[in-house]
């Protein structure tokens, strides 16, 4: 239950009444208007001072025309009426407005910005899930595809869009504030700029093919990228026409880039008296049909030649390729009549996405994050799909779009937990929470900290890092956690231990152990957290001061944290707590941190056993 404050505004009709008495009787705390977990104000919104109205904006407040409720009569009667009215209002502030206050209704509208098949597919899928969708295509022609797609296909897909998709063209997303449930987007149209709010945003920036940078530089007049190759133009005469097709050679080569090179090689090889030598680093046959294609090309007569990185050299005039055939162990030269360079899908996330001041939404390692699939970015409610994410044209993009749409639907239909509450009275506007929020949920807008309504995962990183105890997702404030720690430790028998366990790793591992009948130490108190990042120095020290002989924080492995670096923060804070303990003459080994995965129950059991031993040593 949130703490409800009574904000007493003196005005006509309340003369003689005792605010403190009324508050006490109603079971609420009297406040000067700073404490805003939930509030009852004794006047109407219209009559209240503007500064107060502004401060309370967006929070569950029961505006009460107390003067009217109290009416006239003896003071004792008026005092009793006042107390009853405040109590009623407090109840409604706490309960009735709690839903609105703690989980503000997320905006259901979805913005899909970009172009090509991924964009259209995402719009289609989101609409199918019941969301109104604005599909903002950045090109003036609606059917304009990404450079690696066919316009006809995009046109077909557009024609099939349901009615609740509004399509605008020539419109670009140039600024995005907020987070899941409440994004504020600035859209630059052909004529004017507009601002609109959305619950979720899917970015499908244009993608194209580009020749990787590490390709050998052969003479321009004989060199072509795959996308410009027209195989029908080539055929040999008396002499065989020698073509070199160079597949992506570097360590970043993808199966799609390889398949594209092989497709080109096969088409050329089918031409009369053309001999294709296909250069490759690794035969990346992991795409669907890739192995078949590679086999067909060889059967057609394509000569597949593996070269080590940097092993394909070009003469100064750019007309001779030299390499060592690994099978023969001999140097081989080729004077190609044609060099075809393969390309990889490229697509860039918009530059503003990479701006650390906006949020840590994106960096290039994120596509591989095991918990940021389905097009998710670190910023909840913001999705990046398509070529920028490395998806190949065709079905992979549609699949990604479908997955992203399903994910955002889950988010907007309330799967996420409630937004953090901010106690403005304590907030120093230091913006630590804005800076540390891994999901871009905590924003600063209109002169106060304003968390977005749907995107918070209640990881509690803001709470742990806030120097003023001014922000916490409901249920995760220091006060609440310490209270439950105290109660739990009081009930614990024997050597008391505390395990702070992330729900994504430690708790699942613990649950697996419990289900398997594992015997935990008697005095162990398990405290689940949504992210180990919730566990700051203060919680650890409080656990010790409340009688715990040891504290173990179990967070996810590096690179696996759903909240990006909550685990690393927890590790850092555990270290700090241990250091502080050492400074006051305690034993630092009483505080431990471990990286863990949900499927490592044995490691957890062992760590807890070791902690118990440490605690027992005293």
């Amino acid at each position: 239950m949130p703490e409800v404050s009574l904000i007493w505004i003196e005005e006509a009709g309340l003369e003689g009444l005792d605010p403190a008495k009324a508050a006490k009787k109603a079971g609420v705390a009297l406040s000067d208007g700073g404490l805003v977990e939930a509030a009852v104000v004794t006047t109407t919104e219209a009559r209240a001072p503007r500064s107060l109205v502004n401060r309370l904006k967006g929070y569950p407040v029961k505006w009460l025309d107390l003067a009217a409720e109290v009416g006239g009569g003896p003071l004792a009667l008026r005092q009793a009426r006042a107390a009853a009215a405040v109590a009623r209002a407090a109840g409604s502030a706490a309960l009735g407005t709690m839903a609105q206050r703690y989980t503000r209704q997320p905006n259901q509208e979805v913005l899909v910005a970009g172009r090509g098949l991924a964009a259209v597919a995402a719009a289609h899928q989101a609409a199918a899930l019941g969301h109104p969708v604005l599909l903002a295509l950045e090109t003036t022609r609606a059917r304009a595809a990404c450079a690696d797609e066919k316009p006809a296909e995009v046109k077909r897909a557009l024609a099939g869009l349901p009615a609740q998709v509004e399509v605008v063209t020539g419109t670009e997303l140039v600024e995005l504030l907020g987070a899941g449930g409440d994004f504020q987007a600035r859209l630059q149209g052909p004529r004017r700029t507009s601002r609109r709010r959305f619950g979720a945003v899917v970015l499908a920036p244009p993608s194209a093919y580009a020749v990787p940078g590490d390709m050998p530089a052969t003479a321009e007049d004989i060199t072509l990228p795959v996308s410009r190759l027209k195989p029908k133009q080539y055929q040999g005469g008396e002499q065989w026409l020698q073509a070199a097709v160079i597949a992506p050679l570097g360590p970043g080569a993808t199966a799609h880039g390889f398949a594209r090179a092989v497709t080109a090689a096969l088409a050329l090889q089918k031409r009369p008296r053309v001999q294709v030598t296909l250069f490759l680093g690794e035969a990346k046959v992991a795409s669907e049909g890739g192995e078949r294609l590679y086999r067909d090309a060889r059967r057609q007569g394509v000569l597949a030649m593996r070269v080590e990185p940097g092993g394909l050299r070009v003469s100064r005039d750019g007309r001779k390729l030299s390499f060592d055939d690994p099978v023969l162990g001999e140097p081989v030269d080729l004077r190609p009549d044609l060099v075809v360079l393969s390309e990889e899908v490229t697509g860039r996330a918009p530059a503003w996405l990479d701006n650390p001041l906006v949020t840590t939404a994106w960096d290039q390692d994120l596509p591989d994050h095991p918990r940021l699939q389905a097009g998710r970015t670190a910023r909840s409610g913001l999705y990046l799909i398509g070529g920028a994410r490395g998806a190949a044209p065709g079905d992979p993009r549609r699949a990604q779009a479908a997955a992203a749409a399903a994910d955002l639907h889950g988010l907007l239909s309330g799967e996420a937990v409630a937004v953090p509450a901010v106690r403005d009275v304590l907030c120093a506007s230091c913006l630590t929470c804005v800076r540390v929020c891994p999901h871009g949920v905590v924003c600063y807008a209109e002169d106060h900290i304003a968390p977005a309504p749907a995107a918070c995962l209640a990881c509690g990183v803001c709470t742990a890092e806030c120097p003023a105890e001014a922000i916490a997702p409901p249920g995760w404030s220091n006060r609440e956690m310490i209270a439950s720690l105290a109660a739990g430790l009081k009930a614990a028998a024997g050597d008391k231990l505390v395990l702070f366990a992330c729900r994504n790793s430690g708790m699942d591992a613990a649950r697996a152990l419990s289900l398997a009948g594992h015997q935990w130490p008697k005095g162990l108190l398990m405290v689940p957290v949504n992210c180990a990042g919730r566990v700051g120095v203060q919680l650890i020290l409080r656990a010790l001061s409340l009688g715990a002989g040891g504290v173990l924080v179990a967070g996810c492995h590096q690179g696996n944290c759903r909240s990006l670096n909550g685990n690393l923060r927890a590790k850092l804070r555990s270290g700090e707590a241990a250091d502080l303990l050492a400074q006051v003459g305690g034993r630092p080994e009483q505080v431990r941190f471990m990286h863990l995965a949900s499927n490592q129950p044995r490691a957890l059991a062992q760590a807890v056993a070791e902690l118990a031993q440490t605690a027992g040593e005293k």
Partner: protein
């Protein structure tokens, strides 16, 4: 005795990661589903996979199973029958009528609390859509007898290594302390002689992750990686692979055979144009994926097509099966990783929801 008929919008055959992901996604779309798992527990093959993180997460996705199971258990609209298998199916209007039969299982007991439990008796299910998420079947390395599987001591499959990774490798290596470990890739993959004209995609990453775990646990363990082409994908791998090439011995050769040597299994491979023999304590065969064992029966049961590689579904589309109202999710459709299977499950659910939409509307009107 009247046979009980369960009515559900969607029935999902297979309770592995793809099936669970599909169930969760359907429920997000407001659709209930029934998950039918043949084994005694959820999770499929992933349930046997351990975490391969060393100094950091290696993005295998095995840990994701726990949250899928947790989320499935938390959603009352997802019903689960374990130890159950469809034995009959017929198209019924726009949907399907299935007969489920209980399966006797001697495997490990379920280790997660679940909504639902073992199928008590033969039952009928009336469903608007069917999602087949039965997974792939690992290739049995003894079909490539030259690698000495089940014949030469110290030769194991990658899945056996997986099972022992958290415990003792010495047992696998016939009591020897495995200081020299070889991996042989593409056992059953990229093999036209078996009719397997596909790369199984995940085995290189799987093997290399395990190799790294072994080296992290026992520094100094020599790892030899026999391969044709390294098929890792994803941006993070590029750097990691460069590191691994420093720490392990990458040999680009498909070995000719594995024989029993005096000090352990010996790998016969070609280097420098002739045959060489190297002795190891442990030889790990990276077996590929095969179409699900029941693919033929299932494709007959549900009148669905097979891909050119024999998996369920069609080459042309990611989740369609050629049969109305039947969709394929996960590695039953073709080799894919855990994370990809989870995504694929969501895509299959999207397609199934699309199929169900008119039915749901009709029901609302009725």
């Amino acid at each position: 005795m009247a046979v009980k008929t369960i009515k559900t919008p969607a029935v999902i055959i297979g309770g592995g990661v793809a099936g669970l992901a599909a169930a969760i996604d359907l429920s997000r779309r407001g659709l209930s589903s029934l998950v039918v798992e043949r084994g005694p527990r959820l999770g499929g093959r992933v349930a046997d996979f351990c975490c391969k993180a060393t100094d950091s997460c290696v993005r295998c996705g095995a840990c994701r199973l726990a949250d899928l199971v947790r989320r499935v258990a938390a959603r009352p609209e997802i019903a689960i029958y374990t130890s159950a298998k469809p034995v009959a199916a017929e198209a019924d209007g726009d949907g399907w009528r299935l007969t489920l039969e209980p399966q006797r299982n001697n495997g490990p007991a379920p280790v997660v609390e679940l909504a639902g439990g073992p199928l008590p008796r033969r039952s009928q299910v009336q469903a608007g859509a069917v999602i087949l998420a039965v997974g792939a079947t690992p290739f049995d390395p003894s079909a490539k007898s030259r690698f000495g599987y089940r014949r030469v001591p110290g030769v194991v499959s990658a899945l056996e290594l997986e099972g022992a990774l958290e415990h003792s490798l010495a047992e696998l290596a016939g009591g020897r302390d495995p200081r020299r470990v070889a991996f042989i890739q593409c056992v059953g993959s990229r093999d036209e002689s078996l009719g397997h004209l596909y790369c199984s995609r995940v085995c290189c990453g799987f093997a290399l992750r395990m190799a790294r775990v072994i080296q992290a646990r026992r520094p100094g363990t020599e790892i030899t990686f026999f391969h044709m082409d390294v098929q890792t994908y994803g941006r993070a791998w590029a750097g990691e692979l460069a590191e691994m090439r420093e720490q392990m011995n990458f040999v680009r050769a498909m070995p000719g055979e594995v024989t029993a040597g005096p000090g352990g299994p010996q790998v016969v491979y070609a280097a420098g144009g002739r045959s060489q023999t190297a002795e190891f304590d442990l030889v790990v065969l990276s077996q590929g994926m095969r179409p699900p064992v029941g693919a033929a029966a299932l494709s007959q049961l549900f009148a669905c097509t097979r891909t050119s590689d024999g998996f369920l579904g069609s080459d042309a589309e990611p989740v369609a099966s050629g049969a109305a109202g039947v969709f394929i999710a996960g590695s039953a459709r073709g080799p894919m990783s855990i994370v990809e299977s989870i995504e694929h499950g969501a895509v299959a659910a999207a397609a199934a929801a699309g199929h169900l939409q008119p039915l749901v509307r009709e029901a609302a009107h009725a």
